[in-house]
């Protein structure tokens, strides 16, 4: 799992003035621009319906923007057709809101799915066998501490476990970018923190680039202030000058517009009543 990415920083995801208009008068996304660089963790905050998931779906090519340009790994993908997208998507890991697991497949088949079905793992058009990818699948499931669930079906697992399987499935192909859509939504605080701990562990072990969509400000706070200690297998607080703080950036969405982008300290310092709802500053939260 600990394969290192190329060290030179590169732009993994770039939105330039991206808008998306459905039938409603208000656009789902209104001229949004941002860049995510390799090694960065991006926390995307916002109320329900503010356009967070739309960003994710555009980054995956599941929705087409009405205007603007999207680049993934320094490649302009704005006008890619579905076939071209399959190759791009095979470099992006994704965790859907409810896990998005295939309920007719076992946990093992679910996690093996990207390895078995993506063109880049095929040799001469032939799919690898389930047996040949089993070690990778087992590694990915051990990573989320579900190594003994290979033959279970998603319906036999709890909500938190399904998310963890989703994380294993997303990371098994060692993606360049991992998109998490509300990884903690609908979970109790303890399970939610376990999920965030996994995200932190994944960041440290794979040096991965991630965008995390959430409405819980605690998720961002944990990502920005804690690191994984492999010796003790637990989280510990970061030093004040740790580069990880720098590499964790926040953005806040409101009604399809990007209303804030910056570090956690800038988020905490914001006076805006909407933005400060997503910060850790307790004094402002009361107001």
């Amino acid at each position: 799992m600990a394969r290192q990415k190329a060290n030179a920083p590169r732009c993994i995801l770039k939105f330039e003035d991206v808008s998306l208009q459905f039938d409603q008068p208000r656009p789902a996304l209104d001229r949004v621009s941002f860049e995510i660089w390799s090694g960065e963790t991006r926390i995307i905050l916002g109320a329900a319906g503010s356009g967070k998931t739309v960003i994710m779906k555009i980054a995956l090519g599941l929705l087409k923007p009405s205007s603007g340009r999207v680049s993934v790994m320094e490649q302009d993908v704005t006008h890619f057709d579905e076939r071209q997208w399959y190759d791009v998507r095979s470099h992006i890991g994704v965790l859907f809101q409810e896990g998005g697991l295939f309920d007719s497949l076992t946990i093992e088949e679910n996690v093996a799915y990207p390895l078995l079905n993506q063109a880049r793992f095929m040799t001469a058009g032939k799919k690898p066998t389930l047996d040949s990818v089993r070690p990778d699948v087992q590694d990915a499931l051990n990573f989320v501490e579900l190594g003994n669930t290979l033959n279970k079906f998603p319906s036999e697992l709890s909500g938190g476990m399904r998310r963890r399987v989703g994380i294993a499935r997303g990371s098994v192909a060692d993606p360049d970018l991992f998109l998490y859509d509300s990884p903690t939504a609908g979970l109790d605080p303890i399970t939610a923190n376990t999920i965030i701990a996994l995200l932190i562990k994944d960041r440290e072990m794979r040096n991965s680039t991630a965008a995390i969509i959430t409405h819980r400000f605690q998720d961002g706070h944990l990502m920005a202030n804690f690191r994984y200690n492999p010796e003790k297998d637990c989280l510990e607080k970061l030093a004040a000058d740790s580069p990880i703080r720098e590499r964790t950036k926040f953005m806040v969405m409101n009604e399809g517009r990007l209303v804030f982008e910056g570090s956690e300290s800038a988020l905490d310092a914001s006076q805006d009543p909407y933005i400060s709802k997503f910060s850790m500053n307790p004094a402002r939260k009361a107001s």
Partner: protein, 252 residues
């Protein structure tokens, strides 16, 4: 003014596009053989008992109805011929297709619909596989293989049903005359339309089921709606297509 026409035309356009993509995908790598066999088992083997039952009784009913009509003209000996022709040309294909539409268009629509609303279709696309290729093509191919086979079985069992009524039950004719009549009355024209129809119906049932399933929106309620629509639309198209095909073959 013509706004009410927009939605059906858009649906038809989507249907044609899906049909094109599913057909092209069937000759393009990668192939999902396992999914194909699974679907053939679900659609073909799974529908076999009910197809046999319905086929048998449609033959029985046909012979019973004809027994009265034919006895008026003293032509009860023709019962084998009439049963065979009506079953092979029309009743067998249409009844089997309606049955499979009720059983499998609904099954396909609800399965794909549930996958759509629980983000599994999006997940499939996001994980780099084409849902049309992985879900639609195996169902279409499985339907195209199994529906004609099921129709042939229904036709045969139906003729056997007609025999049971005509010979042991009502003694309208002798066994050898019944079979001889049934066999000799069938021409290539009848067999051809009896096999072309199920192939066309297979396209309709599989693609309508997939289309309505993959367009599902609005949670579990949407899945129910998609399922109902799929069965209704597939059934209506089965009748329209059989009328068109019959019109062509009548003149041949």
């Amino acid at each position: 003014m013509l706004d009410w026409l927009k939605s059906p035309f858009l649906t038809f356009q989507e249907f044609v596009l899906l049909a094109g993509r599913a057909t092209v995908n069937s000759v393009r790598r990668p192939f999902y053989g396992q999914d194909l066999f699974l679907q053939m088992d679900t659609i073909g083997v799974g529908s076999l008992p009910i197809t046999v039952l319905i086929g048998f009784f449609s033959g029985v009913i046909m012979a019973l109805q004809m027994s009265r009509a034919l006895s008026q003209y003293g032509a009860t000996g023709q019962v084998g011929q009439i049963t065979a022709i009506t079953l092979v040309r029309e009743m067998g294909p249409v009844l089997t297709a309606l049955l499979i539409a009720g059983r499998n268009a609904s099954g396909i629509a609800s399965e794909l619909g549930s996958m759509k609303v629980s983000e599994q279709i999006d997940a499939m696309r996001a994980l780099g596989t084409d849902p049309v290729k992985k879900l639609v093509t195996p169902r279409l191919l499985a339907m195209c293989v199994t529906l004609p086979l099921l129709t042939i079985i229904a036709d045969f069992v139906g003729i056997v049903g007609g025999y049971m009524v005509a010979v042991p039950l009502l003694r309208l004719t002798t066994g050898s005359q019944y079979w001889n009549n049934a066999w000799r009355s069938l021409e290539y024209n009848d067999i051809a339309q009896g096999l072309i129809k199920p192939l066309l119906f297979a396209f309709i049932i599989a693609l309508v089921g997939c289309l309505y399933g993959m367009r599902t929106t609005g949670g579990t309620q949407g899945v129910g709606r998609a399922t109902t629509q799929a069965v209704v639309v597939a059934s209506v198209w089965i009748f329209i297509v059989t009328a068109l095909v019959t019109r062509i073959f009548v003149n041949l």
